[in-house]
């Protein structure tokens, strides 16, 4: 996977900031995408477009707060292909994997800036910042999780299991 970074340094970017509760009355992904990150940065979409970014980098405890699945759904629908943060709140982490949005724990986010081009190999556990020409080891994505992501999410994964049994 290769993409350009859009970065927010803030810690505790919670699910209310990612998708405010007032927009949860409709669940279609395009509607959610439109309001994604609105309360953190009203210019999120414009910035993202200018940078042509698809990799979101955030501070620690990313996705804390409610268990709402609309948070990762809105990010994915807004064109984010991967989120990198030092730590994630665990239900957000689960929900992201369940909808096949890769989330990567990486503590030294100072190594990335908005606009950097990253090359990521999830299976091998490797990340290259092509802009700074630095290479990093990241935690390998466990086989089990790779499988869910490869099947494009938990629903398909479960469908397959159900018919196997």
């Amino acid at each position: 996977m290769k993409g350009i970074v859009i970065k927010y340094n803030e810690k505790n970017i919670n699910t209310d900031l990612i998708i405010p509760a007032r927009y949860l009355n409709k669940s279609d992904p395009e509607h959610l995408a439109k309001h994604c990150m609105e309360d953190l940065d009203p210019n999120f979409h414009e910035k993202k477009r200018k940078l042509d970014a698809t990799i979101l980098v955030g501070g620690s405890n990313f996705g804390s707060g409610s268990s709402r699945e609309q948070a990762p759904i809105s990010l994915k629908a807004a064109g984010i292909k991967c989120v990198i943060a030092p730590t994630f709140a665990r239900i957000f982490f689960r929900n992201s994997i369940n909808i096949a949005l890769p989330v990567i724990e990486f503590s030294n986010i100072n190594e990335f800036n908005s606009g950097d081009v990253l090359q990521i190999d999830l299976d091998e556990g490797m990340l290259i910042n092509q802009t700074t020409d630095k290479k990093f080891d990241i935690k390998k994505v466990p086989k089990f999780i790779q499988e869910i992501i490869r099947q494009n999410g938990l629903v398909n994964f479960a469908k397959k299991k159900l018919t196997e049994n």
Binding site: D16, N61, S67, I91, F93, R94, N98, K143, K161, L162
Partner: protein
């Protein structure tokens, strides 16, 4: 090398007898739970998973559905949500659907009904599902997709967590409860201090704690980012189960040589009743400091899945008895379940509350999540026995919520500013 109780339960529910902390497993679950907010999405997911097959729900008796958040339905939107759930329950003959009038706040109701037992693997599409660890079950909150899939497969995926062992020792000061200890603990380690980890509560203080105090502590594990809270079953647990006529369950306990990510010893002798300031549960401060600040509040809430049990109402009623609620305060008391409500009537607590000038509501989550039955106006403050004081949690975004134990809440309702019974 020994194992923790959390590791043992997860291992026994997976197909691989050798898995250890850090491994990912697809595990068989014993029960799963959804409520009026999370069930509708989970039901959509379930339908998608079983589409084109002749499969139904994995087990008619192991799915629990509770319309408890906006009970009784507060508006058309919440009524629609509940109807989706009810239709699904009837159509699939799900036995553990609790219609309003029989439902209660899920995390008070489920243990009360004997629907969770030691050694079980329990998931709920609600973050405070971690409450049942108090009975020695592995119990954790998940998203709606997880729940929808679980209703079809009877399975869910887990990363086996490392555990943090908390050892509570010493002699508690008067008026210090499980709520105060957990607020103190979150204040020490922070709202992400236990992210992904199992929080295992041990020590002489836990040994002597009632089930109510144990539920309260496990309930708030998520507020430190924990995956679950858990307590090794003992005589107190068994007594609780005996009273419910439950005799089939499996006891797991942590081995003496189990490996922990961290062990945190808490000497409790000097801990005072705690109050968590807006807008995070980690902002806890001792009552002596808070009392001097004379923080006047507009509303006091006594209830929720954290502190809506009979013991909590009893403590509050004893403090309020023969007194009047401060003229400036709306005091709202919410029993956790119909059974607790009934007991509170029989024991005279409800009369005490009403005579003092408090409101007693039917069991509901209501104000805890800013749903209904006690919403704050712009600029208003509340002291509440609930578990979250995030911005806007109980109403307007510019309102404030402070968290405390029932004793502190009752004293505050009488005085009008945040205080504890020792200052009355």
């Amino acid at each position: 090398m020994g194992l923790t109780i959390s590791e043992k339960i997860l291992r026994d529910h997976s197909q691989n007898p050798h898995v250890v902390a850090g491994d990912y497993i697809l595990a068989k679950i014993d029960k799963c739970l959804a409520n009026d907010i999370t069930a509708p999405i989970a039901i959509e997911v379930f339908k998608e998973v079983v589409k084109g097959t002749n499969k139904g729900v994995f087990d008619l008796d192991r799915i629990i559905l509770t319309p408890d958040h906006f009970t009784p339905n507060k508006d058309v939107a919440s009524a629609n949500q509940c109807k989706i759930m009810k239709d699904f329950a009837w159509k699939n003959a799900i036995s553990n659907y609790f219609e309003q009038g029989r439902v209660g706040i899920e995390h008070c109701l489920i243990p009360e009904q004997g629907l969770v037992r030691p050694g079980e693997l329990f998931i709920g599409a609600d973050s405070h599902t971690c409450t049942y660890g108090a009975l020695g079950a592995f119990s954790t909150g998940v998203g709606s997709t997880d729940l929808g899939v679980a209703m079809a497969l009877g399975k869910a995926w887990f990363k086996i967590p490392e555990s943090i062992k908390f050892i509570y020792s010493g002699e508690l000061k008067k008026w210090v409860s499980g709520k105060d200890l957990i607020l103190y603990t979150i204040g020490e380690i922070g709202v992400d201090g236990a992210t992904y980890k199992a929080m295992e509560f041990t020590g002489e203080i836990i040994d002597n704690f009632s089930m109510a105090n144990r539920f309260t502590m496990c309930n708030m594990a998520i507020e430190a980012g924990g995956k679950n809270g858990i307590i090794n079953p003992d005589a107190v647990t068994e007594q609780y189960l005996r009273e419910k006529n439950i005799n089939q369950y499996k006891i797991y306990k942590s081995d003496d040589d189990a490996e922990y990510f961290e062990t945190i010893s808490v000497e409790c002798g000097e801990i005072e009743p705690q109050v968590a300031f807006p807008h995070l549960p980690e902002n806890s401060r001792p009552i002596s400091e808070v009392n001097d600040m004379k923080i006047h509040v507009d509303q006091v809430v006594i209830g929720s899945c954290t502190n809506g049990r009979l013991e909590d109402l009893k403590i509050a009623a004893k403090i309020i008895e023969n007194n009047k609620i401060n003229p400036n305060i709306r005091c709202i008391v919410i029993p956790g379940t119909q059974e607790i409500y009934l007991q509170a009537i029989k024991k005279g607590y409800v009369r005490t509350f009403i005579e003092s000038g408090a409101i007693v509501s039917t069991p509901t989550c209501g104000p805890c999540l800013g749903g209904h039955m006690g919403i704050l106006a712009k600029g208003e403050k509340a002291l509440s026995t609930t578990n979250r004081n995030f911005k806007g949690r109980m109403g307007h975004v510019e309102s404030e919520v402070y968290l405390s134990s029932p004793a502190t809440a009752a004293a505050t309702a009488l005085k009008g500013y945040i205080t504890s019974p020792e200052y009355l």
